[in-house]
Each structure stands twice: as structure tokens, then as C-alpha cells.
């Protein structure tokens, strides 16, 4: 019984839950905001890069591959710190949430580019030939015939990757972005109690479990019969 009380006091102390709930909710809205902006910017920039790559210009190709490999190889935290502490030295001052958004968007774009590119490559060559043989231009064939097929193939890996990277909004805590984890650790250091951290964890579950479930649903919907 004593152990039960100790557990409750450590992780689920009622008065602390009441006291810090507003902070955690604020953190949730910050996390949602950044995550949504990261998904929009990251996926569209990644798609744009894949489309540019499909033009097969050697120069563009080299630039994209270098960017993609670097962004995928570095831990996102390293990039966050470099950009946040490095850019002011060259006179560029970005607010911390902008740094977080920028870095995560670039990382997601790098992964998304690879996924879209693999999707474009996996569409059989005969699809291009059939489309072009009816007089469609390169870009008409790309947008009406190739991409719709490529995108369906990319939905499962892209969903997984997007979830993995949006969770990295938690990295914002090291540069003071007031997202969920930042709110929770701040509250923890004031209350000397792990309850706010547990609230933070629950907040992540509340946000991401539906996304994970939605991802699974989208995967099954898009897992589509090939002729």
C-alpha cells in the first residue's frame, strides 16, 4: 500500500497535475504547431527535390545526393545545435522554434526525397513509354501517370518516417522551444517531482498514438492491388 502511494506521489501527484496541466497543454499546442509545419515543409520540399532529381541533371543530382546523405547521416540534435549556436556568428538570428522547424523540415525532406525517388524509380518503365507514346509530355507523364503510382508506394515508408521525425520536436527542449518536453522538464525542476514528466509522456501518447493508428489505416488503404 505504501509503495502504491509512493508511486502515485512520484508520477501522478494530483495537485501537481492540476498545477502544471496548463503548461503541458501549452507545450502540446507548440508541439502540434511545429510538427504540422515540419510535415508540410518537409514532405513538399522532399517531393520537390525528387522531382528535380527525376530531370536527371548531373549537377542537381550531385547537390541533392550530398544534401540528402549529410542530413540523413547526422543526428538531428547535432544539426539543431549547430544551426542554433552557429548561425548567430554569421549574423543570422533565428528564434529557437524557427531553428527547430528548419532543421527538422530539412531532415524530413532528405528522407522524403529518398522515399519519393525510390517510388518514382519503382514505377515500371513501360508506364513512361505508354504515356509518352500517346503524346504526353515528360511532365504530363510524370504528374498524371508516374507520380500517382509512386506516391501510393511511398505512403507506408513516408508515414513511418514522418512520425519518427516529428517526434524529434522534443529536441527543441535543448534550445528552449517551449514544447511538451521543455514544459515538462521545467515543471519537474521547480517541483522536484517526476509527475510533470509523466504528464509530458502522456501528452506525447495523446498526440502520437492517433497518428500511428491513422498511419496504419492509411497504409492498408493505400496498399493497393497492382495490375
Amino acid at each position: 500500500m505504501d509503495n502504491g502511494i509512493l508511486f502515485i506521489d512520484t508520477f501522478f501527484k494530483p495537485e501537481l497535475i492540476v498545477r502544471y496541466l496548463p503548461d503541458i497543454l501549452t507545450g502540446m499546442s507548440v508541439t502540434i504547431e511545429i510538427a504540422v509545419l515540419v510535415v508540410i515543409a518537409g514532405v513538399s520540399f522532399g517531393l520537390a527535390l525528387a522531382l528535380i532529381r527525376s530531370l536527371r541533371s548531373r549537377f542537381a543530382n550531385v547537390v541533392i545526393v550530398v544534401f540528402v546523405d549529410v542530413a540523413r547521416a547526422l543526428p538531428p540534435l547535432v544539426l539543431v545545435l549547430i544551426v542554433y549556436f552557429g548561425l548567430p556568428n554569421v549574423g543570422i538570428l533565428l528564434p529557437s522554434y524557427a531553428v527547430l522547424w528548419l532543421v527538422l523540415s530539412l531532415v524530413l525532406a532528405a528522407f522524403a526525397e529518398e522515399i519519393f525517388w525510390a517510388g518514382i524509380l519503382s514505377v515500371r518503365k513501360g508506364q513512361w513509354e505508354a504515356a509518352r507514346s500517346t503524346g504526353l509530355t515528360y511532365s504530363q507523364a510524370l504528374f498524371h501517370v508516374i507520380l500517382p503510382q509512386a506516391v501510393r508506394l511511398t505512403v507506408p515508408p513516408l508515414t513511418n518516417r514522418t512520425i519518427a521525425i516529428t517526434k524529434n520536436t522534443a529536441l527543441g527542449t535543448v534550445i528552449g522551444v517551449p514544447e511538451i518536453l521543455n514544459q515538462a522538464t521545467t515543471a519537474e525542476s521547480f517541483s522536484f517531482n517526476a509527475t510533470p514528466l509523466m504528464m509530458g509522456a502522456i501528452a506525447y501518447l495523446v498526440l502520437f498514438v492517433p497518428v500511428v493508428i491513422a498511419g496504419r489505416y492509411i497504409e492498408t488503404r493505400f496498399a493497393w492491388r497492382r495490375a
Binding site: 513509354e129 504515356a131 500517346t134 495490375a227
Partner: protein, 249 residues
Amino acid sequence: MVSARRNLILEVRGLRKSFGGTEVLKGIDFAVEPQELVFIIGPSGAGKSTFLRCLNRLEEPTDGSIFVDGIDLLHPKNDINATRRRIGMVFQAFNLYPHMTALGNVTLALRKVIGLANAQAEAIGFAALDRVGLKDKARAYPNELSGGQQQRVAIARAIALEPKIMLFDEPTSALDPELVGSVLAVMRDLQASGMTMVVVSHEMRFAREAAHRVVFMEDGLICDEGPPAKIFGPEANARARKFLAGIAR
């Protein structure tokens, strides 16, 4: 440069094609008259498919000239997309767009290349599907169709654009034997309606019965050509006879 004989639908002169250092087509001269059905036969590796694919520039010829209905296909100023509309192509693997219905497959180029409104494109699309006997499958997706039906949709997709000439690249090779007949019947129909056709195929019986002319290709060159009676008969070139004896069933 203007086509020498204006009544030709297709005129090819000195066509060459190399892949890397390998010359696959070694100088082909070839002409097709309106409403002609020309069969191209020959051993695998002879360059038949490459030749056909050069005729709408899916493969870029290395040298030579191609005129389609008087248009210089290889001229730098030629709008290849506009010309391709006039050259229907049917592939061995059908290559239907799997994310579109049969009607969607047939109408895509009508809408995007010719710029027709949806209603107009669909009317033409239904008519084209009707011609291949698949009007009732207009709303079906390719994976809901048999191989023979898919190939007929692919033919409808090509004829909807009212091509001057149709190229068939082994149209029945990927089909189960019992489905071949339906595709050949559609091709017969096209022939009867006056369509000009160049067919790469191993359907020798169809060639014998339907072709106006049979071309025997080997090793990147046309070795012999003539009416079926000649190519399938004793006066054919020795290599053609040897090839045909080898595949006689």
C-alpha cells in the same frame, strides 16, 4: 527535306541504332503504304522491337531518317509529342495505367494532349472501348480485367487518338493462348477499317492470313520481304526459310 513519295504513311531510310558500341540496327530502308498491314518477323535479337520503338522515337535512332505521314520525325524542330499522337503503339506488357479505369486510360491523352473537355473525351473513349468490345468494362480497373481485355483497352487507348499508323510490339506474347484470339480479332477489325499497321509478332498464322507484306529481319537488317505467300513459301531467302522451319509447329 520532304518525303520522296507523298502517298507513303511511313518511310524509313538508312536507319541505324547503336547501344553503346553495339550496333543493333544496321541501316534499314522500309516503307509502308496507307492501309497496309506489315508483319515483321525474325529471330530474337534481330532488332525488331528496337526498330519499332525507333519509329515513334521511344528509342532515339543513331542515324537515318523517318517520315511519318510526310513529317520528318527526326527533325530538330519537329514537335515529337504532336507527332506521337499520330502513331499509336501497343506493347507486349499492355502498360495500362493501373490507377485509372479503362475509360481513364483511354481518355488521358484525349484530355491532356488534345485538350478535349471531359464529356467529349469520354464520348470518344466509350466509342473506342466499344470498338474493342469492352464498352461495358469502361469503369473497370486494369487489375479487374483479363490479359486479353487489358490489351484491347491498350488498343482502344491508341485508336482513340485517331493515329495514322499503329505499331504493335508483340501484342499477344504475354497472353494465355485462349486470350490471343480476342486481340487478333480486334486487329483484324482495325485492318478492315483501313488502319495502317506494323506488327512485330510470332503469330505466323495471323501473318499468313492477314498481312499484306511480311518482312524478315535478322541481325539488324531486313533480309527479305514480300507477300506472305512468298516469305512463307519456297522462294523465300534461305535464312528466312531456316528461321521459319525452326519455329514450325
